[in-house]
Symmetry: C2
Subunit: 200 residues, 2 copies
Amino acid sequence: MATPVESAPTKQRILDSTAAQFMRHGYTGTGLKQIVAAANAPFGSLYHHFPGGKQALGVEVIHRSGAMYGDLVMSVFDAAPDLLTGVHDCFEGAAAVLVATDYADACPIETVALEVASSNEPLRVATAEVFESWIVSASARFRAAGLDDSTARELAIAFISLLEGAFILCRASRTTEALEAAGRTAAVVVEAALRDAGVS
Amino acid sequence: MATPVESAPTKQRILDSTAAQFMRHGYTGTGLKQIVAAANAPFGSLYHHFPGGKQALGVEVIHRSGAMYGDLVMSVFDAAPDLLTGVHDCFEGAAAVLVATDYADACPIETVALEVASSNEPLRVATAEVFESWIVSASARFRAAGLDDSTARELAIAFISLLEGAFILCRASRTTEALEAAGRTAAVVVEAALRDAGVS
DNA sequence: GTCTATACTTTGATAGAC
DNA sequence: GTCTATCAAAGTATAGAC
């Protein structure tokens, strides 16, 4: 995902390169020239595959990266023996990736989401769609554990908020303290909800 | 804070203008020409007051905005009758500001923090210092309520993470749902901690 | 579809008159 | 301290040969 594969088609290399740079430098901080350079693609190919220019490329990358990251998180839940362990593993896994990438790879769309929220409506909508899809996916996990719809959705939002917020603190401080604290907090909240619902 | 006062000194108008634009468009998305234009200041004045250029201006704005926002949050705690109400009021007040500013004014440094985390070390350090000062301030409130040091710090980090993460979801979706969910979650966690400590 | 060259705009930054 | 003019570089986007 971070390193474009040499043999992949040009369009895919451009998408991968853009996704990697958005995560590190954001939307306005990533130049089209840097994108094609890292993708080993000629400049003209970018506008051939994305006639809509930087904005169209951005929308596609947000949807793509968002879907991939959502799948990644859901696979962590799948691999865990129970919900509580799954929640814990998400934060622990995120911290491990952060350390392994020198605090560069956190959420693939949060930086872009904040940058475009008040200045680029198509991109803002794209990030909103991704976040909503994550909320829906996570809610399904909480419902499957026996929680009612509104509790499940509220927990899903709290789970994602804790993860995204901790990412900011961790990348700024270059420590994993926030993800550890947020992970324990998420576990406490989920455990309390399960207890209240009588399914624990 | 958002609208530079006409009568304020030039340097202060530049700082206010920069703070307002950083919140909406981020660091790379804010041009120096836009800053002086919104500040009603000539271009040369910027480099007269900030010989270090955009980066030096950015560092000063981060520290200034960070201190002001930290004070604002602490004043909400001061005005509340108890800790739990204070926590609740922070999320409710943040949601009100978000709606009043058309989902533009959330945290003054989170967008910049993510943008510069992997590309501009002096700015990254500035954002880290601000976040740490907030953690220390919030921890003091939790300790004052009777919690031990490590619990207080963990709750402070969770509190800030929930707030920052919810800001992202709210600005992207243009709804206050996430701040409401995160606020209720924060209250649940703090209440549980107080109960566990036997001070509730 | 691939690739090069270039147009046009905006960026951060500087020089120097007042 | 204020203000204007200008620089070199980087930004997005386009034209057109191959």
